[in-house]
Each structure stands twice: as structure tokens, then as C-alpha cells.
């Protein structure tokens, strides 16, 4: 398993496609907490998968003014269709070119498989990692850790 960036580290900046013709940078979100969820791939076969779960819990994240972002190595066209089919109400970033570049910076890339780990980061409003968690790749880590981390952020 990888070693993900620990709490206290400055979250590496990135700028990735959020739609085929738009990019999103981490620095654009400065001033509010960001939840960064790396996941292996769109279209996982189970219902109630990780992204579907976060979609249901968005209102809880929003109580902390937090921005939820999913990241995988899938391309933005794939993300667009996945997001549409699952009615996801948060952005999915494409760590597609160079493949896995951002995931590697966060220690959340599986070289042997060529896709992301299931890794979670809560980044504080100043751009520093407040909490991180690496889940076994087959296990949906749920959201209890994220909520607890958001609650523990200094106001």
C-alpha cells in the first residue's frame, strides 16, 4: 500500500479538468475546507458505492462549508457521463494527463494497477492537510472519518 501525505503537510497544488473544457485548481478553493476523495475508477459495480454515499451526505459536508471533490484517473468525458448517470452533485476531477500525476503527489497512486488508491484528505481553509486516510482499495471508507475531521477543524 502507498503512504499518503499526512496531516500537517501543505496540500500540493493542482489544476485538473473538471469538465472537458474547464479546469479547477485547489487554490481557487482557498478559504474553505476541501474534501478530496481519490478513488480507483468510475462505474464501480455496487450500488451505494463511495461516490453515491458522499452524494447523499453533501448537505452534511456543506454545514461545514466544505467543498467535496472526487478524483480518479478517468478522463473528463467518462466523469461527465458517470456524474450524470449517478446524479452526482459535486465535481469529479480527471487525473488523466499526465496520468496519475496529482495522485502521486498525494501518495495515493497504485503504480502496479495504474489507478488511484481509495484515499481521503480533508484540507483546511489555508490549504493544509488536516486529516488523511488510506483505505484498503476494496473497502468503501464511508464518511464518518471525514465528518469527524471537519468537526475538529479550528473555526
Amino acid at each position: 500500500m502507498s503512504t499518503v501525505l499526512p496531516a500537517g503537510t501543505v496540500a500540493p497544488e493542482f489544476s485538473l479538468h473538471v469538465t472537458p473544457d474547464q479546469k479547477l485548481s485547489l487554490s481557487e478553493l482557498r478559504g474553505r475546507p476541501v474534501i478530496l476523495a481519490f478513488y480507483p475508477a468510475d462505474w464501480s459495480p455496487v450500488c451505494g458505492d463511495q461516490m453515491a454515499l458522499y452524494n447523499e451526505i453533501l448537505s452534511e459536508f456543506q454545514k461545514h462549508n466544505a467543498e467535496m471533490i472526487g478524483i480518479s484517473v478517468d478522463g473528463s468525458w467518462c466523469h461527465a457521463e458517470f456524474g450524470r448517470a449517478r446524479k452526482l452533485h459535486f465535481p469529479l476531477l480527471a487525473d488523466f494527463e499526465p496520468k496519475g500525476d496529482v495522485s502521486k503527489k498525494y501518495g495515493a497512486y497504485r503504480e502496479a494497477d495504474g489507478f488511484c488508491e481509495r484515499a481521503l484528505f480533508v484540507i483546511d481553509k489555508n490549504g493544509k492537510i488536516a486529516w488523511s486516510y488510506l483505505s484498503p482499495v476494496g473497502v468503501n471508507p464511508g464518511a464518518d472519518g471525514i465528518l469527524q475531521a471537519l468537526e475538529e477543524l479550528p473555526k
Binding site: 455496487v46 450500488c47 451505494g48 458505492d49 463511495q50 453515491a52 454515499l53 452524494n55 447523499e56 451526505i57 452534511e60 449517478r86 446524479k87 452526482l88 452533485h89 473497502v139 468503501n140 471508507p141 464511508g142 464518511a143 464518518d144 465528518l147
Partner: protein, 176 residues
């Protein structure tokens, strides 16, 4: 761990003081929960009076358009003392889940369909279902169904043998 613990606010079958308390977080429209439904019945039969069963709502509304209405219908029936009848009937008719079907089920239990429709429209039970959902999130529920045995999350598959294995292990640990 299960947060909050089982209390009188829960829908419980059996005796709250049973040595085994099995809690399911479920979604009435989730096919995996439909699969688990007869298994839970088997588990209840297997352990008899030694086991109490609790059902809490965890509807994934974006994925399952009727899950919320179904959960609210069961809660509505619960206020009339018919929670388990409705819970069972919804799972037994999961393939044809829709609002008119829920109204029909209400009728079959001598509950007013009009009252049910009004309760759904006024979102009378929405907050209750939501609070179940949030408790699930806090307890580490990551999909449906998720089972807890005496407050501890059951991991992995949930076929009859898996749940029995997990329950027996929990009993032997609790007895130590």
C-alpha cells in the same frame, strides 16, 4: 461502533435485552437489501428468542427514487403499530416498488391511503428517516445493507453462514 445505541426509539423485533441485538441499516429499493431480507428471517428463526432485530433507514435517494417514500411509508405504518408488516411487505414486493403500490399496501393493512399520501406530501417522516441516515453515517455505514451485531459492524458478505459466523464469534467474545 453503533451511534446512537439501540433504544426505545428504534423499531425492534424481540426483546431489547436479548444477548444478541442485530441492527440492519437498509434501503427498501436496494437489491442487496432485498437479498438480505429472507436471510434475516432465517437468522431470526435460527437464534429464536436469543436475538432481537432492529431496522434503521439508510435510503440512497439519488440512486433509488422510491427508497425515501418506502422508508416514510414504513414509518407511517409504524405510528399505527404496523411497522414490521409494512417493512416485510415492501421487501416482498420490492420489484414493483412505486408510490401507488405503497398506497395499496397501506390499504391491505387497513391503513388510510389518503392519510399516507398526505404524510408523504407533508414530509411528516422525512426528518426521522434522515436522522436514521445520519446515525448510519456516524456509525460507519458505507452502503446497504450494513449490519451491526451488539454494536459492532459486521464486515464482508452477509449470506446466512457469514452472519451466523459473525454472531457466534461476537457471543463468544462477549461471554469472556
Amino acid at each position: 461502533m453503533l451511534t446512537p445505541p439501540v433504544s426505545s426509539k428504534d423499531h425492534l423485533q424481540g426483546d431489547e435485552k436479548s444477548p444478541i441485538v442485530l441492527v440492519e441499516y437498509g434501503d427498501y429499493q436496494c437489491p442487496h437489501c432485498g437479498h438480505a431480507y429472507p436471510i434475516v428471517k432465517q437468522i431470526q428463526k435460527h437464534y429464536g428468542k436469543r436475538l432481537a432485530f432492529v431496522f434503521r433507514n439508510f435510503p440512497l435517494n439519488e440512486a433509488h427514487p422510491y427508497a425515501q417514500a418506502a422508508a416514510e411509508t414504513a414509518e407511517f405504518a409504524g405510528t399505527k403499530g404496523k411497522f414490521w408488516e409494512m417493512h416485510d411487505a415492501i421487501f416482498e414486493n420490492q420489484m414493483s416498488l412505486a408510490v401507488p403500490m405503497l398506497v395499496e399496501l397501506a390499504g391491505s393493512f387497513d391503513l388510510s391511503g389518503e392519510e399516507l399520501v398526505a404524510a408523504l406530501e407533508k414530509h411528516e417522516f422525512t426528518a426521522h428517516v434522515k436522522s436514521d441516515f445520519i446515525s448510519g453515517v456516524r456509525s460507519g455505514v458505507n452502503g446497504t445493507p450494513t449490519f451491526f451485531i451488539n454494536g459492532h459492524r459486521h464486515e464482508g458478505p452477509f449470506e446466512f453462514e457469514d452472519l451466523v459466523g459473525s454472531i457466534d464469534m461476537r457471543i463468544s467474545r462477549d461471554e469472556k
